[in-house]
């Protein structure tokens, strides 16, 4: 097996007439944290949803562990090892915290992430496991959403806008878990509007602008001016859309 756990090749996705993702290619290495940044409407969430199987691309390929999964159903991708923490958390509102986790929990007990293991990761959870999830705060709900994705034991974890609607201190605490998750052999693809937070945990950064790649590089290589330009597209007026940085 190659060093890339996930490869996206020439991916184009349409929402009806609108082209949300325009010929984007990138790869995620094993054990790596890759952050996608970009403004609203840049196509970040669409990209993650397409990788998870909720959208069908118009063209291009998604290759996971050297297998083309472009046409697979979402549930099959989950069992193969791709889990998405969706934007807005999307918990099962009629269920308790524990039931939310158990929906996604695998049958095997030997895998790294069980419901018990998630309870160790978030030590406040056991005492509140019988509560309905709508009684939890936004940050707690986000933690449950992450836990729910983890108990499926993903090899690639897709995190969509974790910071949405949360206080900065909570966001910081949630991102503090990233190294712990990576240490279990999980590769992570993050989509984030909060650039500072997203860049801080990343091994590599990939910037999307209006459905296209506008910048890639490691956080150390990239200046904040470059990121600003790639994020807002300030360069567009001058006609040079992509400012590819050398890695």
């Amino acid at each position: 097996m190659g060093e890339h756990i996930l490869q996206v090749r020439d991916l184009t996705v349409h929402h009806g007439q609108l082209c949300a993702i325009d010929n984007v290619s990138f790869e995620l290495n094993r054990g790596e944290v890759l952050t996608m940044i970009g403004a609203n409407g840049a196509g970040k969430s669409t990209l993650l949803r397409t990788i998870a199987g909720l959208h069908h691309p118009s063209s291009g390929e998604i290759v996971f562990e050297d297998v083309d999964v472009t046409r697979w159903q979402p549930h099959k991708r989950v069992s193969k090892g791709i889990s998405l923490v969706p934007e807005g958390r999307r918990l099962f509102s009629s269920m308790t915290l524990e039931e939310n986790l158990m929906v996604a929990a695998g049958q095997s007990r030997s895998l790294p992430f069980t419901v018990e293991r998630v309870y160790e990761l978030f030590d406040w959870m056991p005492s509140r496991r019988k509560q309905r999830v709508w009684q939890l705060s936004g940050g707690e709900q986000q933690a449950v959403a992450i836990g729910r994705a983890l108990v499926a034991n993903p090899k690639v974890l897709l995190l969509d806008e974790l910071s949405l609607g949360l206080a900065p201190i909570i966001v910081e605490r949630i991102y503090a878990l990233v190294p712990e998750i990576v240490s279990q052999g999980v590769s992570i693809l993050i989509v984030e509007q909060d650039v500072a937070q997203g860049v801080m945990v990343a091994d590599r950064v990939h910037c999307l602008l209006e459905g296209r790649t506008s910048l890639t590089g490691t956080p150390a290589d990239l200046t904040s001016e470059q990121i600003d330009q790639a994020y807002f597209g300030a360069d567009m007026a001058k006609g040079s859309l992509s400012a590819e940085a050398s890695e």
């Binding site: 909720l54 099959k76 989950v78 099962f92 009629s94 929906v103």
Partner: protein, 290 residues
């Protein structure tokens, strides 16, 4: 004492409404499909019971042991083929498709078996009853149907809240996409929910055939009562459906007691009153994830 009898008879018929309605409630709650052929499925089940029993050399009373599993299988297959395809198009297609199915079934039954009424013959038990008070007669058959309704709802409730499959059904009902992201094959889950719905409606159809006469077009009016029971009780609550069915049954018996013409009217008035005062139903939930 007269009013006690009215209430008792209402509860007895309410149990049947709940048994009839729980499949409808499940189909709507999980698949978001309003199955307009639900009532006709019950009638088909009653016909199958009547026609199959002589061939199998079993008493009609026990025909449900064969018919219910057949309908469970039929529900799964019909869901994975016809109904899923209409869901994939858009929600309105499911209305058209199930309505079309209803028309086809009714006319096919008329063509094959005429409009004559039939019954699921269970012998002399049908006429026997318990007589606890001067004017109170409790039919054994109605009492057994009520008991079956409560038992079915209890088993279904337990299955949904405790089993892994039940949890997946609830997950898909809450948020289909999120359930997929948690590894659920939602089409298979839909199939299981449809299988349960069809199995319960087959049971209800046979029970109906035992209690009274049925004809090819009997499905429609029962479907209406089932809708009312579900809405009165609150969508998504099984015990609510039981209470809704009983409330509807009692209202109808009160109406019938005043004047036989008022039976259906009284039920409809209760239904409209609940819609006006408490649109989510007696046990319906308004809460949503913040």
């Amino acid at each position: 004492m007269i009013w006690v009898n009215v209430i008792i008879q209402g509860i007895l018929v309410g149990g049947f409404y709940a048994l009839f309605a729980c499949g409808l409630s499940l189909m709507f709650g999980v698949l978001k499909v309003i199955n307009l052929a639900h009532g006709d499925m019950a009638v088909v089940a009653a016909y199958v019971a009547v026609l199959l029993s002589p061939h199998l050399h079993i008493a009609m009373l026990w025909s449900f042991l064969v018919v219910v599993p057949i309908f469970g299988l039929l529900g799964y297959v019909l869901q994975r083929t016809l109904i899923q395809r209409s869901i994939d198009r858009d929600p309105f297609t499911t209305l058209l498709v199930t309505f079309g199915l209803s028309v086809v079934i009714e006319n096919l039954l008329l063509e094959l078996y005429t409009a004559n009424g039939r019954t699921v013959d269970i012998g002399s038990i049908i006429a026997q009853s318990w007589h606890p008070g001067s004017i109170v007669y409790i039919s054994y058959v109605s009492l057994v149907v009520l008991a079956i309704a409560v038992l079915v709802l209890a088993i279904l409730q337990l299955f949904l809240s405790k089993s892994r499959t039940g949890r997946l059904i609830r997950a898909v009902a809450d948020d289909r996409e999120a359930a997929q992201l948690s590894g659920a094959n939602y089409k298979h889950i839909f199939g299981i929910a449809a299988a349960i719905a069809f199995a319960t409606v087959a049971l209800a159809g046979i029970a109906y055939g035992m209690m009274t006469q049925f004809a090819p077009t009997s499905g429609g009016v029962n479907l209406l009562f089932a809708f009312e029971a579900v809405v009165i009780g609150g969508i998504g609550s099984l015990w609510g459906t039981l209470v809704g069915g009983i409330a509807l049954g009692v209202a109808q018996q009160f109406g019938a007691h005043l004047n036989p013409q008022y039976q259906v009217l009284a039920g409809n008035l209760l239904f409209l009153a609940v819609l006006a005062v408490r649109p989510q139903g007696l046990f319906g939930k308004k809460t949503a994830l913040a």
